[in-house]
Symmetry: C2
Subunit: 290 residues, 2 copies
Amino acid sequence: MFNNQIIQGDCKEILQTFPDNSVDLIFTSPPYADQRKNTYGGISPDKYVDWFLPRSEQFLRILKPKGTFILNIKERVVRGERHTYVIELILKMREQGWLWTEEFMWHKKNSYPGKWPNRFRDSWERLLQFNKQRKFNMYQEEVMVPVGDWAKTRLAKLSETDKVRDESSVNSGFGKNVSNWVGRDMVYPTNVLHMATECFNRNHSATFPLDLPNWFIKLFTEEGDLVLDPFVGSGTTAVAAQTLGRNYIGIDISEDFCRIAEDRLEISQPRLFESPNDYSIKQDSPNGTT
Amino acid sequence: MFNNQIIQGDCKEILQTFPDNSVDLIFTSPPYADQRKNTYGGISPDKYVDWFLPRSEQFLRILKPKGTFILNIKERVVRGERHTYVIELILKMREQGWLWTEEFMWHKKNSYPGKWPNRFRDSWERLLQFNKQRKFNMYQEEVMVPVGDWAKTRLAKLSETDKVRDESSVNSGFGKNVSNWVGRDMVYPTNVLHMATECFNRNHSATFPLDLPNWFIKLFTEEGDLVLDPFVGSGTTAVAAQTLGRNYIGIDISEDFCRIAEDRLEISQPRLFESPNDYSIKQDSPNGTT
DNA sequence: GTTCCGCATGAATCGATAG
DNA sequence: ACTATCGATTCATGCGGAA
């Protein structure tokens, strides 16, 4: 098929040539409404849902039954209000047959600066998880994180004070949980991710950090699986998939972006032989102090 | 009127006795669907919107034109999916006349423990901001936070070495730049709040940390303003308002909760004479490392 | 070789000005 | 009135050069 390629075109048309149930993970950050006008022509917020739905219909068809679709998106402010196109999209996609399984939170540590009389800087984006079935592939152990300071300090004093408390306060839920942590270095993460945007690469404006697709690819796929990004842009998703030993397909309507993505894939390829697992996931430790 | 009281009853009826445009801030964390069954009879997720709308209609009427409504809520999981009642509520409240101004994010640093095969621990909640007008009262300076580690480490040596340099090299352009930073260790926060839940209150569920109402009361009201919590529960919002020198009104359908709230208000009252501003806001520093 | 600092750069938003 | 463009605002981040 098209494995490990960047394809130029509109994913609405390109994907029609794909067979049913063939993709393990779709991870994408589509052009936000009116946001990347120069490359995408600027979809107006009011028409965004209608623009998106025929594409998500294709996503639904080509996704494997146990596959996952992660949609990175954030609504913009229109006339002083958060626009509703994202939450309307969720409702419409459910009518289309999607399950809205979860909403992860990307806390952008370095959000865009600015000051306004009626709002603060927007510092988070949504990562909507959609599935075809209630049962889907999830490899939670792959994204475990080192235990945070909270647990470290808590467990240090456990033997002294908390063991006594453990007996006295049974229904706090705390004492029982602590015993699960003892002797562990790694814990499961939460649904909040703390990552900085990458605004330093001059050649390509990577919209999200490599760690973001990295995390979800590890979580929802195994090696050899197929990862699709239908709005691949500068190719961050494809690079992450390639580095992690997954197959990738990237689609973008812009020829320039396709070329940039191919260049990045070319450059990142040799790294496989140097340090295969050099991408550290800076995901939040459960207490958020990392 | 009812200033500085806890009122037992259903806010839908109680609020009908309130005059129009009389409240400066409504801050509340309503009973989540099916969560506080024993007290509110357990509103089923599918009926939640219909249950809420007549109440939010009263909120809209009694709120001052430049006032704000902060709604702390999070949809629960139903049959493996995030339920849609929260986003449906947003759409319906807009039809009611509300403006959906912003969505703050409360990152719960110590989320409820647990492990499931298909999802991680839920570590964030929504704080939906609604307004009647595009222009509303906002006192941003009241919630400024210490500057992040970046500036801390970089400016740490300023007072020692660089102040000397400042005098010797006048036209380097460096001295002028420094003057902007010296004495300025506070920056505006973002729309992501990092606070731990308070897990010591065992008798009543659905508690949020005192810092949460504290932060919004400081941000959206001045001293002497009126703060309403129509689902006051154990009284956290009222205590915060009282401590900050605002007037409060708390409403709850449960007599037990009303008594607990009144007790807490009684206890917290004397603190005013000890240390009026002793509640440190642990809001996120912009880089999220706090 | 470290550590340290200057610099450019963002999926932004508002208000004013202009057609 | 309603849209389109532009300037001002602001701060975390990594790179590159300097000490």
